[in-house]
Symmetry: C2
Subunit: 307 residues, 2 copies
């Protein structure tokens, strides 16, 4: 049992991340009361039914009123509007954070709404599954995962540390980053890989010479990893690309440039270029295994399933 | 214990696939003697040291002589030369197969070398790991995996069935396919996804604004699945792209076309196009889970690792 870090925590949005936060907060005992709000009546009903938070409110302001920590857990494109809605009721001394995958645009949308005496500090818990909605959360989601902490300039150091302690209590390892660097790192390790996976799955789906049934049957040959990351929440990912446009387009430009070089090597039969390129990429994989971010078990740590 | 299907089996090449075949053959008891040959002296020494096969020979011909089944387990680009080398010693009534990831070019390279009275039938076991070499094999590699069987025209039906029974005894589920269809299906589900993964890993490695350390630390955000498939054997993959050029270039062309459409949607802020596309790709993922080719556990079936 940790000590209480925030007396009352309000979760605005009750999807995978917020639901998992509620369960992880209870596991750690870091909050005395957890309130919650979701825009959809069905989500609020489900949250009440399964007791996801202590009190489900019928407006974002009602949930945020009197809270010591307010977590904006809505798609990135909705952050500014939600911040404006709760601003009038925010308690002096409260901390507001978000859990969005993009940071520059969230800071720009949210900071102007935050009243004096309230501290906003961005969070980005790098954890997720392909599932969404109030029933998809689980207390272990953040265990041993990174949570990037993105304070605005002149943030109060004490409040930033308090938020870091909060995420650590939920199981995450925190690291501070400035918003622009955050957005380019995430474009490389997450946003563009997701876009590429979506595209490859779309190509397979369109190709009439190969049936859907064949794509599915033979997916273990490499394609499965693409479908895994292409199944995430469409609204969340739409907003990521609309709000992290510059970094995403920069990385996409580099990607297509390199892909065309390899495509040319295939067309011209330049085996040396292909071999050199494929040799170089092995090193990063080794680094990931050494960093403990994956397993090198022969079956990649997957449970064997019968077909 | 199965019945013996081939009295003597010769493995030409002693890497991950051949090594796993030897261990799986012993587990199933489908061969009385297993001979083997590898081009590299070091590989032959290791194979002798660990007893990977019953008898390690110093030439491909010595291993193949008198064998009832000869398995060509070398990179696709080397198949024709190996077939020519062993052709003079092949036993009448023998079956020759390969384990290459491409089939049209293997048939074209190998078939002209096969003497009368010997039957060639292609195999493609769709199983692998990122490891290679004689120590990387394990008996379970083919369990519940597909093995595509690609008979040439006018193949002897009895011998094709015998080869199917052999792969089934090694744990695989077989399916017959004609060579051209095989090559396009594999371009979609395996070859192009691998090329894309290699490219994305290369981009990350090149990007000086994001350190290698950051790419590795935050890889769980999606990028890890790319490095997983980008770590396979460079020689094998070079040969795949050189020999399945037409299908790979066709699928790559479709991929870049779709990627550019999404890139344009990002640039113009067209959220509807992005949302529609991302929604459509979820269906294939659901299909893969329903087909039992992956797990829908919240952590994707991965063991949790500390960082």
């Amino acid at each position: 049992m940790n000590d209480v870090i925030f007396d009352r925590v309000a979760l605005i949005g009750l999807g995978l991340i917020a639901g998992s936060m509620s369960l992880a907060m209870r596991r750690a005992g870091v909050a005395r009361e957890i309130t919650g709000y979701a825009r959809s009546q069905a989500t609020r009903d489900t949250a009440r039914e399964i007791g996801l938070v202590d009190r489900v409110c019928d407006s974002a302001a009602a949930a945020a009123e009197g809270a010591d920590l307010v977590v904006l857990a809505v798609p990135v494109g909705a952050m500014g509007a939600v911040a404006a809605e709760i601003a009038p009721v925010l308690k002096p001394g409260a901390v507001v954070t978000d859990v969005g995958s993009v940071k520059r645009s969230v800071l720009e949308a949210v900071l102007p709404q935050i009243p004096e005496g309230v501290q906003f500090v961005g969070s980005h818990p790098m954890a997720g599954t392909e599932h969404s909605g109030p029933r998809s959360g689980f207390a272990e989601l953040f265990d041993n995962r990174w949570c990037l902490i993105v304070p605005p300039e002149q943030a109060d150091e004490g409040e930033v540390r308090r938020l870091e302690a909060f995420w650590a209590a939920l199981g995450a390892t925190t690291e501070r980053m400035d918003p622009d660097h955050h957005d380019i790192v995430c474009a490389v390790v997450s946003h563009v890989p997701h876009l590429i996976a979506y595209t490859m799955v779309g190509v397979a789906d369109d190709l009439r010479r190969v049936t859907d049934q064949e794509v599915i049957k033979f997916s273990a040959a490499g394609f499965r990893d693409f479908t895994r990351i292409a199944a995430s929440d469409p609204t969340m990912w739409r907003d990521v690309f609309l709000t992290n446009k510059d970094a995403a387009l920069e990385i996409l430009g580099r990607f297509t440039e390199e892909l065309f070089a390899l495509q040319r090597a295939i067309r011209t039969g330049d085996g040396d270029t292909l071999h050199d390129y494929f040799t170089r990429t092995r090193a990063i994989r080794r680094g990931i295994i050494e960093a403990g971010q994956d397993t090198d078990a022969p079956d990649f740590g997957r449970a064997k399933k019968s077909v």
